[in-house]
């Protein structure tokens, strides 16, 4: 549809400049699912607009930062563990793969889960979250009741309102999706459904404050999702 195509292009251009408000971001999310994912011209526009946006950074006059900033950085680099979060994680390799080869546009995301963003931007957000000293990163594990495997990390900053799930999972069978649940004292709230991209890579953004919950659970459910966890428990972790 031509109107939808032009609207998508407008929103992609503004998105590349980081200039969308919440309402338009929601519209773009919808268009990603209904149009952009299947429109090669829009996907090309998305990447090219982002490339243009990245080049605009050079239009700002370069300014040498004060020596005190460099000194602070060097002090922090010496004192902080290098790639600590990644090195400690048993699923580091798969997460790195996700962040480096991610193609969010191929993932189908519904409900509260996710936000349509470019891979680099979303990867940047995860990087930002995981690099904060106050961030928490937990590895989800199988509870032993399912043969389905997966390697997923949950990352969040308490009070930050955003929880990221990154890793890899097998693509569920047709008419099935993965559903994310956030638990508090045994009661689980629906956080949305998702399907990994065809390669199995997962990067999901849940807009919720994980600090208000004590567990995250991923189950396999019918494509419409369920009102409570009723399918196979795939992965879980305490928050």
């Amino acid at each position: 549809m031509n109107g939808e195509h032009e609207q998508a292009q407008e929103l992609l251009a503004a998105h590349a400049l980081h200039a969308l408000d919440e309402e338009d971001l929601g519209t773009l999310e919808h268009l990603v699912r209904t149009h952009v994912g299947g429109c090669s011209e829009c996907r090309t526009a998305m990447w090219s607009f982002e490339a243009v946006s990245a080049e605009l950074a050079l239009a700002a006059d370069p300014v040498t930062p004060p020596a005190s900033m460099g000194a602070r950085l060097r002090r922090d680099v010496r004192s902080r563990e290098h790639v600590g979060i990644w090195a400690r994680s048993a699923v580091a390799a798969s997460i790195i793969l996700v962040l480096t080869v991610l193609a969010v546009w191929n993932a189908h995301l519904h409900g509260l889960v996710s936000r349509a963003q470019s891979s680099q931007q979303l990867a940047g957000e995860v990087l930002d979250t995981m690099s904060r000293p106050e961030s928490r990163v937990v590895a989800l594990a199988t509870d032993g009741t399912s043969a389905v495997s997966g390697q997923v990390l949950a990352a969040y900053v308490p009070g930050g309102g955003r929880l990221y799930l990154v890793g890899s999972m097998p693509v569920p069978e047709h008419d099935l999706v993965y559903q994310v649940w956030l638990g508090r004292r045994g009661n689980y709230a629906n956080a949305g459904t998702f399907v990994p991209e065809s390669s199995g890579r997962v990067l999901v953004l849940i807009e919720a404050d994980a600090a208000g919950y004590d567990a995250v659970l991923i189950t396999e459910e019918p494509s419409a999702g369920s009102s409570s966890p009723s399918g196979r428990h795939i992965l879980t972790a305490s928050l």
Partner: protein
Amino acid sequence: MQERPREMRDAELQALVAVGDQAAFEELYRRYAAPAYGLALRVLASEPLAQDVVHDAFLALWRAPEAFDPARGSFRSFFLSLVHHRSVDTVRREERLRRRTQRMNLQAVQDEQDVADRVAEDAWLVDLRGRVLKALESLSDEQREVVELAYFEGMTQARIAERTGVPLGTVKTRTLAALRRLRRALEEEAE
């Protein structure tokens, strides 16, 4: 011997950073601290906030360097985009920074720095910057205004419409036209 492409060398440095090479990290800092700080300062108009943004971006790079993938673009694009996003997020949190009366004189800022070195830009960066500025000059005044307000002042399109008194729909069409023209101009410059 033919010199290898610049971006490949950045990627090589980043790969060394990934295994904890502090000298490689220092070299990336030397190359990108000034463009990153200039960008953050332009968006934030605040020295302390700009320093925090650039410091945190470099520290994030040190702690989780794998987030950059050379296959998806240049290190420069990735890193400066990261700085831009952090700057815009910060300026929106610090709404008071938007008051233009408090906007600082960037030249004065430079004069007050504890290091007042002239920025010794690498030649390739000077060349790239020239191409970007030339591409910006190819925009109409109206197109350039929406790009400036969105990219360098961190405004949403709704806010731009408020500021300029131009209908939101017009802001959107101008933004799209501007990005298309910039894309074309940059492609032509690269040929």
